[in-house]
């Protein structure tokens, strides 16, 4: 099963088995992973599902839309080069993704 590794700002990691087709955000929220708020439920409207993707895994993800790019300028913790909105990342077959959640989302 694909696995997403969520590390919080304090360095604690939770590994969650994910379903193909769900988003990285949905996987986190359903399992109560702290650090991802996702107020809009994946509608690309809130920017409270911000994550930092491990640098070397960034390339294997499909690129982001202009909307996601702009929304990332409004995150609670400033964006970095490896920032993504986790509701826009779909879990794919065999995915092993490492993401870090910011200190706060709102």
């Amino acid at each position: 099963m694909p696995t997403i590794h969520y590390t919080d700002a304090a360095g604690e990691t939770r590994d969650i088995e994910a379903n193909v087709g769900d988003s990285v955000m949905e996987t986190a929220v359903r399992n109560g992973v702290p650090g991802i708020v996702a107020e809009c439920g994946g509608s690309l409207s809130c920017a409270t599902c911000h994550v930092f993707v491990r640098e070397d895994e960034l390339e294997q993800l499909p690129g982001m839309s202009e909307m996601e790019d702009e929304m990332l300028y409004g995150t609670a913790v400033d964006r970095e080069d490896c920032s993504r909105l986790s509701c826009q990342i779909k879990v794919t077959d065999g995915m092993e993704l490492h993401v870090t959640t910011p200190e706060t989302q709102v």
Partner: protein, 460 residues
């Protein structure tokens, strides 16, 4: 962690008139009973665990679904882009691990409060009684009962094919009918009506929107935004009629007797419809609160800490009428908000109250609505605005309106303009201003115009 103490429920000195209904079960007492297992109730339970509340929590709702998010019902879910599983808030495992008992399919019809102590004070405990007679004793009570769709009062409103869109059951029923109709009339040009209209239009239906008022979404956005939506939706081929006066819903004949066939307007014209979707606002579910003797006025009246007039019951989300939370709002101004963000923030405030901390509503209310290719994001509250600034970039398909009250920005409607939305939300959150004079040029990023509110008030 669990503190089930059934004895407490049977203690003497209650004003429970009669014993339990014959044969009806009594549940063990719960530390906190949350009635309403949707956005606000779910958040309250989650936030309480985050703030260290360690009593048993029962999250109870009348719907037969695991708690789910409503916004997609008129958007992605209706368009078949997500399925029900995607809308579920939390896995069962989460509730189990956090000692939160989920009760589905239970409708509470009555609250029996325990009698006050000798000093006349109530500790907030009592028993909630469900429609099937089951009794749910509790130490503290939270009402997160939300709102229901306002019913259309018109001849023919009871015909088959007249539908509402508030719950997953409503949406599932609507989806099951998609093959049965070509022409749909949406009654009401508010957010839900327009979202559903766009979804159905996008699926090839012939859609007519009948709006009673002079403009779209009149309750929530200003005139410029209304006009923008009107033009965009008409251009995409949705037939929108403003100031529409309906006389009755027309029944079909023959095989379609008993089903709706159209809407007759006051001028006698009939708009064909095999489906009429009514989206004319909601009514807060205040019946339980009224029965408990709580103050009710367009929702359950609560203070800044989400506490109702009895001093112990908390009420959160769509059902609550609360002081305007926007920093700097006039004393005494009250508001009832219908949004996800409010349900979440309000539940957080209530969670603090229930654990003895007196936090006030923090954060800037915001809202979104997706209508076809238009993504609307609203930051702040427009209540009491006295001027506006429009930023419009047609080449990029962007459109924002900033609202001002006494020279201070208080809100913005942003269409396909997330940078504007983010800038206004951030400025409001920090108590800053975006002076109106410079804001009209859409080429200038709003972020660069932000000034401290106090700095601006001091004359140069």
């Amino acid at each position: 962690m669990s503190t089930h103490t059934p004895e407490r429920a049977e203690r003497s000195g209650t004003d429970v008139a009669a014993g339990p209904e014959a044969g009806a079960a009594t549940r063990p007492e719960t530390g906190l009973l949350i009635i309403g297992a949707s956005q606000a109730g779910v958040q309250l339970a989650i936030s309480l665990r985050g703030t260290g509340f360690d009593e048993h929590i029962t999250l109870l709702g009348e719907e037969d679904h695991r708690p789910y998010q409503r916004p997609a019902l008129s958007k992605e879910f209706l368009q078949d882009k997500v399925d029900k599983e995607n809308l579920i808030f939390r896995s069962q495992q989460y509730w189990d691990e956090h000692d939160i008992e989920l009760v589905k399919g239970a409708r509470i019809v009555r609250i029996e409060r325990h009698a006050p102590a000798e000093d006349g004070r109530r500790d907030g405990s009592g028993v909630a009684v469900a429609a099937d007679g089951t009794r749910y004793p509790y130490r503290r009570l939270a009402l997160a009962v939300g709102a229901r769709a306002r019913r259309l009062e018109l001849e023919g409103a009871e015909l088959d094919g007249v539908v509402y869109l508030r719950s997953a059951d409503d949406a599932l029923a609507l989806k099951a009918r998609l093959g049965d109709f070509r022409d749909v009339v949406v009654v009401g040009g508010g957010f839900i009506g327009l979202e559903a209209a766009c979804s159905l239009h996008g699926m090839g239906k012939h859609v007519t929107v009948l709006e009673h008022g002079p403009r779209l979404v009149g309750r929530a956005v200003g005139e410029d935004t209304s006009e923008y939506f009107l033009r965009s939706h008409r251009e995409r081929g949705i037939d929108i009629r403003l100031e529409a006066r309906m006389r009755r819903l027309v029944p079909g004949t023959g095989e379609r007797a008993g089903s709706v066939a159209g809407v007759e307007l006051e001028d006698g014209t009939v708009v064909d419809a095999q489906l009429v979707l009514v989206g004319i606002g909601v009514v807060p579910n205040t019946e339980l609160a009224e029965q408990m003797g709580l103050a009710v006025d367009n929702g359950i009246v609560v203070d800044r800490h989400a506490v109702a007039s009895d001093g112990t019951t908390v009420a959160v989300g769509d059902v609550a009428n609360m002081p305007n939370p926007l920093p700097g709002a006039p004393e005494g101004e009250r508001i009832r908000l219908e949004s996800v963000n409010n349900a979440i923030e309000h539940a957080k405030v209530a969670a603090y109250s229930l654990t003895g901390r007196q936090e006030e509503y923090a954060g800037i209310p915001w809202f979104w609505s997706n209508q076809a290719d238009l993504k609307l994001q609203i930051a702040g509250l427009t209540l009491g605005y006295d001027s506006t600034v429009v930023r419009r970039d047609d080449a990029k398909g962007r459109f924002s309106v900033l609202y001002y009250r006494g020279g201070q920005v208080i809100a913005a409607d942003c269409v396909n303009a997330p940078l504007d939305f983010m800038a206004v939300r951030a400025a409001l959150g920090k108590g800053q201003n975006i002076p109106a004079g410079a804001a009209a040029d859409p080429a200038v990023p709003l972020k660069t115009l932000v000034v401290d509110r106090t700095a601006q008030e001091v004359p140069a």
